[in-house]
Structure formats: C-alpha cells, structure tokens
Subunit: 315 residues, 2 copies
C-alpha cells in the first residue's frame, strides 16, 4: 500500500504545513498545498525556500530548486486532495475546525486516499466520526518544525483501518521521519504526556521556590536533555545501572514512586504563577527578541540534525 | 573564596570520582584521589587516561599527559583531604556510608575546606548533622559521567553557609561545569524529580499498553530530547507560542492539568511491569552488550559535547 503513495496533499499552509511540504518533497514526492487564506498561499513557497536553503547550508539537501519544483500551491481544497494518495491535514487545532475540514476532505478524496491529521492533542475520533471514509483517517502528529524534528505520532481512531496505519507508518519511514505508534487514543498522546509530566514538575518546583526557571532549564539542557537527544528514557536508565533496567528499577523505583506520591494533588498553573514565570523569561529574553530566538532555535535544530545524521551514518 | 580553591581532594574513585578528577584536573587544578579499595586505586589512573584520550580525539583536551600529571592517588583519606581546598565525596549512595565518610572527612579537613557530596538523592542534612564543620558540607550532584555532562546540582543543607555555596558555585563555573542552585532540600533534587516525572509517565503508558518502550524512547530521542538538549522546558514552551510562555501556558495549561489529574493514584513499578520492560530491552540489547553500549553512549556524549562547544563558541 505504501509503495503506492507518490502524491501528497497538504491542507493548511502554516508553519506545520510548510514543514510537512519540505519533508515529502525532499523525499521525491509530489506535493500540492491548499490553504483558504490567500495571504498564506502567497507566502508559503517563500517560507519553504528559506527552509530549504538552511537545509542546504547544513548539507541536508542537495538541490533545493528541484525540491521546490515538486511543490505547487492551489486555491481549491479539491485540487490538493482529489489526486492525492496521502493528505496531511494541518489546520488550526480546534475540534470544530478539524471537523469541518475533515468532512470537506472526505467528500473529495479518492477511494484509496489516506488522511493524517497534524493534531497535537485532539484525537481523530473527535472529528472524523461522520466521515464516510473514516477508516482512512488518523492522527499523524509531528513536532514543529517537522523537517527538523523527525518523530511522528501515529494515533488511529477506534475505526481506523490497520492497513491504513501500516501504510502511513511505511510512508513516514520512507520519507525519513521516525513514526511511533500510539496504539489507542489518549489525551495528549505520548509526546505531550511525557512533556506535560516534566513540565508539571518543573512548574511545581518553580512555584514552591526550589529553583529559578533558568536553573530548571539548565538542569535539562546541560543534563537530562543531552542523553535524551540520542537515547530515550528507557535506554538511558537501562545503561545507568550495572544490571540494566531491572537493576535500576528495583533500586530507584521507590524513589520515583515517592516523587509521584508527592504530586497527587496537582494544581493548575495559576495566573500568578504564569505571571512569575513570564517575568523571569521576559527579563532573560524581551518579547521583541522572541522571533529572533525562534530563528536561532531552528538554525540550531538544523545543525543538530546534520550532526545526528553524521552519527547515524558513522554507526 | 573561590579564588582560593586550587587543590581538590576526591574521596571515592569509582566512575563518578574518576570523572570529577578529569573535570578538575583539565581545568588546571591539582587533584588527589583516595579510595579505600586497593583494586580501584590501581585502576583509576588507567580509566582517567582512557577518558582523556577520548576527549583529546574529540578536540576537547589538548594535552592529556599534562592533565594526568596533576592527578595523584593516595591510600589514606587524610592525604587526599587535609591539604584540599575542596573535597568532592563520591562514595556509595547509602546514608550510613555517606555518614561514616563525612565524619572521617570532617575530622581531617582544614579550617576553610569545603565538601561537596556527589549524592544523587540523599540530602546533606541526612549525613552531615554530626559533623563539626557541617556549615561547609553540601551536595554537589553531577550527572554521570561528569566530564561529559556538565550540570551540577548544588543543594545546601539547612545549616550550610551561604558563602560556601557561593564558593562551590564559582568553582563549578570556573572549571566549565554548569551549576544550578536547589534552594532547599527536596527528595530527588531537581534533576531526578524531572527525570522521575517523565519516567513515571513513560512506565504508566507502557503498562497500559499505549506504546512499546522502543516507541516511547523514540518519542524522546527523535522528538522532545532534541530541543531539550540545548533549551530547557521553559524556554522550549516560551518559543512555542506566538505570545511566549504566557500565551502557551494559558492555551495548554488545562491540557497539562488534565494529564496531571489522570495520574493522582500512582502505582509503583511492579515486578511484572519491570519484567515486561526488561524483556523488551533485553530483546533489543542483550545483557552481554550492555557494557559495549555504555561505551557507545560515552563516545556519543563526547562528540555531542564537542558539537555543543562549537555551537557556543559560534554564538
């Protein structure tokens, strides 16, 4: 089934949709982008071109012009969807918007077309139930920007066809992404649940005065995050005790259970707490510098992706 | 005070103690190592030499022989401690062991000597209360191996002198580590609480059948961990919404609070659960390959440290 996927439709041409376009086009697939907003349509190829030049500078794309040539922008949803083997829906994350767009895609999609939603938290069952082709809808959740961070969470709805899931898994692997399968729907999927667990602890430690946001950030960026950038949490602990994960879990499990038991009455992030974190962050990075820092982040991610590629080729 | 720290005593010459020796000696300080175990004493300089050669290969140390020359090994605790300006205690993580060793250090330390414990979870108040010089004891918790992962959690006991904390903070910065201040003692400090929060969620998702350990690992190592390897969790979310952290927290706070509320009855990692994770890990990496994979991890961390250094110098 995956071998048949040659043509990609992108619905929604914001940051996520442009990143997806790069992912598919640099792998040699034809990409057709639709967005209802004319201003976005006008700008999207420029954004993609900038992204491709950054990839070229890092040695991650050889011929940006050839990649760009495989991408076209259309002003009708049907033109992006009807000829597509796979559609990546990347519209605004609100259930009514996702429902409306899914129904529109459903009406014009081909008899074998598969649709993945970039939804970062809303499960496909919440917005595809009424689709005639709902067995070929699922969530394919990327991290932003998808052309620099390769993980994709594939989350089928209860009615999603297993063959369609396997096809998207093969497609994502084929284009160089790293698919993970979330076997059943759950709030936040895997990625945002893991992020949320760490964030909730970070906000609580800040709120209780144990450390500054800057020091909590350093604990991750000069500590935990280094290992986690090439090994997951299970492999990390597996290597961190002489007898492997069993040894580690038996020795440290009680500590971690104690930590969990200290957090059984979670508070929401209050307005005062948000104001305190915001004050520290804005002192470190004024609001007017946020956009520049995002460019720095993406440039860093690009160089990190090139580093990772060298490591994996050197294996 | 920190300017006076020239001479370092290391008590306990396992992996952590050897890593610390590299940290201090490569920064130009004199290091004297004590371990009560003769077999460990005999091997430690060989381990350090291997570590230094790996650093040299990555361009992180210019003259390994000169660094090695600054390190000596002694067979009496007093010989490592009595002339030291700062002592890094890195003995086995058990409160009775730490208490006995702290009292032994206390008896022979100089009138200005400061002692940091490598304890990863036991607070200094649990093992230094009876020390005459307890105002100059604290936790200085590294990540293993300290010469490749720079974060150090400084955790004062209630009786630790603020000047001593400031001196260790300056020392750690001076030798190229990244100190973070944990303002009050708490179980697991910051690093292992953040790791534990993510691990607890990871184990629960595995237990409930949402994903394999391998897929949970990929979600971090090809997703979350990439950004966290150069930005902490607060900076990550600050850059991940148009209006910064306030915007992000207001929009996604309820999702993360919902995730926290779904985990208010934490289960310990049961023997069956540990067996299931172990089975998956041992199928992916047989027990006999654990040691080789640890070497791979350290080699990767070395290259990643060199990459990070290039990025920070390029800023």
């Amino acid at each position: 089934m995956s071998g048949d996927i040659r043509s990609i439709g992108i619905v929604g041409a914001g940051l996520v949709g442009s990143g997806w376009s790069i992912v598919f086009a640099r792998a040699g697939l034809d990409v057709t982008i639709f967005d209802p907003n004319e201003a976005i349509r006008t700008k999207v190829k420029g954004h993609i071109e900038t992204g491709l030049k950054d990839l070229q500078a890092a040695g991650l794309v050889d011929d940006p012009a050839a990649v760009l040539d495989r991408i076209s922008v259309v002003d009708q949803l049907e033109a992006a969807v009807s000829q597509a083997d796979y559609v990546q829906e990347s519209v605004f994350e609100r259930v009514d918007v996702k429902t409306e767009v899914s129904l529109a895609i459903d009406k014009v999609m081909g008899p074998k077309t598969i649709v993945g939603s970039s939804s970062s938290g809303i499960p496909a069952s919440a917005f595809t139930e009424q689709c005639a082709n709902r067995a070929r809808f699922m969530v394919s959740h990327p991290v932003n920007p998808p052309h620099l961070v390769p993980v994709v969470e594939i989350v089928p709805a209860p009615w999603t066809d297993a063959g369609a899931v396997a096809a998207v898994d093969a497609l994502m692997t084929g284009v160089g992404q790293v698919p993970v399968l979330v076997r059943r729907e759950i709030e936040g999927f895997i990625l945002n649940r893991l992020q949320g667990a760490l964030l909730n602890e970070a906000w609580a430690l800040f709120e209780e005065g144990y450390a500054s946001a800057a020091d909590i950030d350093k604990t991750v960026s000069y500590g935990l995050g280094l290992r986690w950038s090439f090994m997951g949490p299970f492999e990390t602990i597996d290597l961190n005790a002489p007898g492997g994960v069993k040894d580690y879990a038996e020795r440290l499990g009680p500590l971690y259970h104690g930590i969990a038991q200290s957090r059984t009455a979670p508070r929401p992030w209050s307005a005062d707490l948000i104001a305190d974190v915001t004050a520290e962050r804005r002192a470190a990075l004024p609001a007017e510098d946020l956009a520049g820092r995002r460019d720095w982040r993406d440039a860093y991610l690009t160089r990190l992706a090139a580093f990772r590629k060298r490591q994996e080729e050197g294996k």
